[in-house]
Amino acid sequence: MTNSTRSAPELSRQVIIVNELGLHARSAARIAELAQNSKAAVWVKKGAEKADASSILDILTLACGKGSKITLIIKDKADRQILEDIANLIESGFGE
């Protein structure tokens, strides 16, 4: 969980975790895989807590169960497609 410090322009999108299993090791790994290709930081925010989307462990610490509302944040517009991809992955329930 990292505190946000800089106030660079950012894009965000809200998604709800729909899969039965929530963000557990395997789903977190799939998000991290996508986020690792980003140009700048990609964050997953739940409530006041923020996690680095490219780290499985960081995502796990947010303990996102089914029905959790989370916000995906990118720091660079160039990562827009990655934001969309992650959001779609989550909304599709990880194909479970």
Binding site: A25, A29, A32, D52, I56, L57, T61
Partner: protein, 591 residues
């Protein structure tokens, strides 16, 4: 090290698999991983230190990849190993360690140790049991890096071909899948309990094992001569001449005894007055079936199905379950296989079951309650069972029934599962026996009603005792109050058996009580049709049954019912059957 030891060093652990073995120790984890040196790295050498760390991670990844590639698919562990591979490069582990080396100028081992202990703390303090357990993953992953860093020679377990006794702190799923356990005489671990995966494997291979020794890896060195007594849970390091002789004798005695009873055990258990009692085995892994057959089991009285749901983040599919069930059913045919539907609960939390933070999981959403709430998951399992039933003699057992409504619902969903199979034209068998686990006091009281909807009862004594006496066995303050012979329990058992007889259905027992020799006269007297237990106790129980006269046990039960305490009941058993029991079972006195 055979030089004259003058005193035995004895470690006490938990007996996980019976038998005695004497041999040389083979440590799976060399020492050195837990003790980490700290030293400063000068600024100009830090990039080299980082390179050294990266190389250690790469080596760990390569090793893991090889294990993944070699793992047979049926082990179902590959996905854990794949997650481990991803974790090796995770920012919070990998990136943070590099940052610490760079910024604090400490050696890689020390930096890694700091990072891991932080991560472990974060996960261990989480409430979700699934997430809590991820701390173990982090530690295992870090250990593999650490071993490469400290240059500890990595033990290639798969290559062990000496007849050795394995000594390990704990055996991870990756390790157990590699060990060629047939080559190992026995094994001991610092961690783990009777029900741990390694214990199950040891029992199925019939090699002695002692677990939960806490500090075996610290006290034992490679090639030390050790004795493992899986009957008592003792491990002796550097035994004296006298002790060695004593244990050689014990080993021979035990093996002779086992050979005799295993032979005898293939015959049915018929009491002295000609009553046949089915003596069945409880299993969890398909691999255990062979031990069960060896021990002379008359069938499977309890097939626990949770194992396939553990250590994974998705649910097993119907076909996967069907394959496993079919294997067991085909091997056992025509003997019955009693498949208990998913019984997940607090102490066996499913990796993918999002824990709702239940304060009291024993009284929470578990077993049939969970399945009725998740009909899709339930139906997958029921379809797999019905399909496997086409290949042999299958019974279904619904766990933790506490109301009549639950058994009706379970039967309704079972019908739906059968209809869907019919529509799809898949082979299945619907005409199988349905049973209710009797393990909640309300089910005892409603037994006459529940009996209308089932073909048999199976009494699960572990939970029944816990729920009836309101005792949490895990709580040391009250664990001594957990008494199978409490008169309240005996009356309940009698009631259930009486109802079963009246309603002309069968009554079985599959809790620990059924596998305890001194409970047998009582259980026969009450009228149990079938007893199911850990496979290795089957021969003992068969012997006890053969020495008893069932007609006498009925009269004995009348005396038992007059007792008012667990203690006086036990005294009565001892006075009446003590000598028979002592003759028929293998009891060793402690040295």
């Amino acid at each position: 090290m055979m030089d004259a030891a003058t005193e035995d060093i004895i470690l006490k652990g938990i007996s996980a698999s019976p038998g005695v073995c004497i041999g040389k120790a083979y440590l799976v984890y060399r020492e050195g991983v837990d003790i980490v040196e700290k030293y400063q790295i000068e600024e100009k050498s830090r990039s080299n230190e980082i390179k050294r760390f990266k190389a250690a991670v790469k080596k760990a990844r390569d090793e893991l990849r090889k294990i993944v590639e070699r793992s047979p698919e049926e082990l179902q562990r590959a996905h854990i190993l794949e997650t481990h591979m991803a974790l090796l490069k995770d920012k919070m582990l990998y990136g943070s360690t590099i940052d610490v080396i760079k910024n604090e100028g400490v050696n890689a081992e020390w930096a890694l140790k700091q990072i891991v202990s932080n991560l472990r703390e974060i996960f261990q303090t989480m409430t979700d049991p699934y997430l809590k357990e991820r701390a173990g993953d982090v530690v295992q992953v870090a250990d593999s890096i650490m071993q490469n860093l400290v240059g500890a020679e990595r033990v290639n377990i798969a290559a062990i071909d000496k007849r050795v006794i394995l000594v390990a702190h704990d055996l991870s799923p990756a390790q157990t899948s590699q060990i060629n356990l047939e080559r190992v005489m026995g094994f001991i671990t610092d961690r783990g309990g009777k029900a741990s995966h390694t214990g199950i494997i040891a029992r199925s291979l019939e090699i002695p094992a002692v677990v939960g020794l806490k500090s075996a890896t610290l006290s034992i060195r490679n090639d030390d001569l050790i004795i493992v007594d899986g009957n008592t849970g003792n491990v002796i390091i550097h035994p004296t001449e006298d002790t060695l002789v004593q244990y050689e004798e014990r080993k021979i005695n035990y093996e002779e005894y086992k050979a005799v009873i295993t032979r005898e055990s293939q015959a049915p258990a018929e009491s002295a007055d000609g009553v046949r009692i089915a003596v069945m085995g409880n299993i969890e892994l398909p691999e255990e079936v062979f031990a069960l057959i060896n021990y002379g089991g008359d069938g499977i009285g309890l097939y626990r199905t949770e194992f396939q749901y553990f250590n994974r983040s998705d649910f097993p599919g119907e076909d996967e379950l069907f394959d496993k069930y079919r294997d067991v059913v085909e091997v056992m045919d025509p003997k019955p296989v009693t498949i208990r539907t998913l019984d997940i609960n607090g102490d066996k939390a499913l990796a993918n079951h999002i824990d709702s933070g239940e304060k009291n999981p024993a009284l929470g959403l578990r077993a049939i309650r969970y399945c009725l709430k998740k009909p899709d998951i339930f139906k997958d399992q029921l379809r797999a069972i019905l399909r496997a039933a086409a290949f042999g003699n299958v019974r279904i057992l619904f766990p933790m029934i506490s109301t009549y409504f639950e058994i009706c619902e379970a039967n309704r969903i079972l019908d739906e599962a059968a209809e869907s199979l019919e529509k799809e034209g898949l082979p299945y068998k619907r005409d199988i026996e349905i049973g209710a686990m009797i393990e909640v006091p309300s089910a005892v009281i409603m037994a006459d009603v529940i009996a209308e909807s089932v073909d048999f009862f199976s009494i699960g004594t572990n939970d029944l005792i816990q729920y009836s006496l309101a005792i949490d066995r895990g709580n040391e303050q009250v664990a001594h109050l957990y008494q199978p012979l409490d008169p309240a329990i005996i009356r309940m058992l009698k009631h259930v058996a009486d109802v079963a007889r009246e309603k002309a259905i069968k009554v079985f027992m599959c809790g620990e009580m059924a596998g305890t020799p001194h409970h047998i006269p009582l259980l026969l007297g009450i009228g149990m049709d079938e007893l199911s237990m850990n496979p290795q106790t089957i021969p003992d129980i068969k012997r006890v049954i053969r020495s008893l006269n069932v007609a006498d046990t009925h009269a004995f039960v009348n005396e038992v019912l007059k007792q008012t305490t667990a203690k006086s009941t036990f005294e009565l058993i001892k006075a009446t059957y003590g000598s028979i029991l002592a003759e028929q079972t293998y009891i060793e006195e402690e040295i």
